[in-house]
């Protein structure tokens, strides 16, 4: 039996209805474009800034908790926590972070080698870290055959390898990759004999049947320092140079606030923001003694070099040495040349701060 189907009936009401929907869609689209254009014209730029997820009150968390400081920056700041330099620079590369602070030499060198669009704009601080071991380790030679923690890929790891090389211990100790809190747990249970780690973990380990062998500060003179800088997305600098300059000024001011009168309240607030305990003397002590890069050494041979020759500065030379170390370790096959490193450093923002050209908006 063949089936026949009735002829389709046109719904005469659909025509005008479709036209009305189309007009409404176009009007909505036009309205949205108009609104966003208006918003772009009048709003301050939004800059996403990172801060370290640790209890130490560093300049970024001071900035986050001091509205008067934020008001000096012609931008709206939003803060995102980070736990790793490489991950933060990957986020910078993708544009989800605009400015990253406290990034160590290995991740910066890697980012330069991978042509990340970024500029180093401020030499922020040296590592506040050190090698802490248990009391069974009575000399460097006694470390042979034992297991120690390190954070592979970090500036502390670079310093640790430098120290091992200087003491003829390369290849004679077992190094295991651990985050600081895991390193402390492993140390307390005796799974490792010590480790090179940032404060406050280094002090906590030393206080638990252990002692400090050396610190990152000592590695500055021996050629393997951990150096940390502020890095900004290159497109952000191009679009908002005044905001980036104001940010650098504010960060410098934030570091000064940790030593000035009233610093306890400032450090308390910032430490709480970063997850620390309220009114903790440890938090305040750490924040007040953090090894910030001296303003007098920000430029020149002890800092970022000069605008004409960033390669003449200590920072660029440390980065170059770090690249060579990573190449020998087999983790970075093509480290950046000194020319590439120099091109990634922009000392002009630091120069404005050193020359006293920071103004309040």
């Amino acid at each position: 039996m063949t089936r026949t189907f009735p002829a389709p009936v046109r719904n005469r009401r659909r025509g005008p209805k479709r036209i009305a929907v189309a007009i409404a869609a176009v009007a909505t689209a036009v309205a949205l474009v108009g609104c966003s254009a208006t918003a772009a014209g009048s709003a301050k730029p939004n800059i996403v800034v990172s801060y370290w997820q640790q209890t130490t009150p560093l300049p970024e968390t001071i900035l986050a908790t001091q509205p008067s400081l934020q008001a000096t920056i012609p931008a709206t700041l939003s803060f995102r926590s980070i736990e790793s330099g490489p991950a933060a620079l990957a986020a910078l590369s993708s544009g989800s972070l605009g400015i990253v602070g406290g990034v160590g030499n290995p991740p910066v060198v890697t980012a330069i080698a991978k042509n990340t669009r970024m500029k180093i704009i401020w030499a922020q601080y040296y590592d506040f870290a050190g090698l802490s071991v248990n009391n069974s380790v009575t000399s460097p030679a006694a470390m042979a055959g034992k297991t120690f923690g390190t954070q592979i890929g970090s500036s502390q790891d670079f310093s640790f390898h430098g120290w091992l090389k200087q003491h003829g211990l390369e290849g004679k100790v077992t190094l295991v990759d651990m985050q600081p809190n895991a390193m402390l747990a492993a140390y307390k249970t005796g799974a490792i004999a010590g480790g090179w780690v940032s404060e406050p973990f280094a002090s906590l380990m030393a206080a638990d049947n252990g002692h400090s062998v050396t610190t990152s500060a000592a590695m500055v003179s021996s050629g393997y320092p951990g150096v940390n800088a502020i890095v900004a997305n290159a497109d952000l600098i191009k679009q908002n140079p005044k905001a980036v300059q104001a940010y650098v000024c504010a960060i410098s001011k934030a570091a000064d606030m940790t030593r000035a009168s009233g610093s306890t309240a400032v450090l308390n607030k910032a430490g709480a923001y970063a997850g620390g305990k309220a009114n903790s003397s440890d938090v305040i002590g750490l924040g007040g003694t953090w090894p910030y890069w001296p303003l007098s050494e920000q430029l020149g041979s002890k800092g970022l070099g000069s605008a004409a020759n960033p390669g003449s500065g200590l920072y660029a030379q440390v980065l170059y040495k770090t690249g060579e170390y990573l190449k020998a370790a087999g983790t970075l096959t093509a480290p950046p040349t000194m020319a590439q490193i120099s091109a990634a450093i922009d000392p002009t923002f630091a120069k404005a701060v050193v020359d006293g050209k920071c103004t309040s908006n």
Binding site: P86, A87, S94, V176, M178, N181, A191, G330
Partner: protein
Amino acid sequence: MSARTARDRSWLRRPLVSTASVAGGVVLWWIVASIVRDPVVLPSPIDVFGALVKYMSGPYPSQGVTLWQHAAASLTRIAVGFGLGSIIGIAIGSLMAGSKAIRHIIDPFIELSRPLPPLAFIPILIVWFGIGEVPKVLLILIGVVPVMIIATVTGLDNVEPELIHASRSLGGSERYTMMHVRVRAALPSIVTGMRLAVGMSWTSIVAAEMIAAQSGLGYVILQAGNYLDTSLIFAAILVIGVLGLLMDGILRLVLRFLDPAGAARRV
């Protein structure tokens, strides 16, 4: 067309379509990578293949081992964690299916632990078990056990009552009925749970190898990530994918062996 001819063509069609699909995916990947032109953001298939060849024969990092050896290390951890986890999960699931009291006691702990991410356990496992292989294997086991318990309980609960009644009425004891009728009938569900658990194990391997590992594919991914070596990350992921596929294939064969009638229905 006879039923056998239709089945034969289906057999041939599936691998052809799958291979064509993978090849198409690789071509699309190559096209997108050519447009992006940034190996950190998206390496091309050639970059990834190059990293695979380089590290299959050379160590990563320079004091480390080859990708084969990293794969063997991860596979060993997964085999032990998955194997033990499956045994424990099937045993607990069987007990729960056999006794309502046991089910009511254990069920809340399963539901509480299932959503927990493996990363959350790392500090506790280090404190309790140190930094050797035990915490790594345990991290994998923690992910496998709840999956296997649920698959076993579900499989045993869904056995047709007629089969159980038939066994009991023909003189089978409760234990005999459980082992030879219920468990046998539940095997497809249990093996399906194992296939899910294998995937879970590979997902957990990166977290497991954050515990002071010096080898393993998860370790390679973590280290390569530190240095934005995306080609090597993709290469390690590819190796994980292939190994996962192989393990799943083995489980499918096991299922076919244990349940040939069901295998015929599933083709």
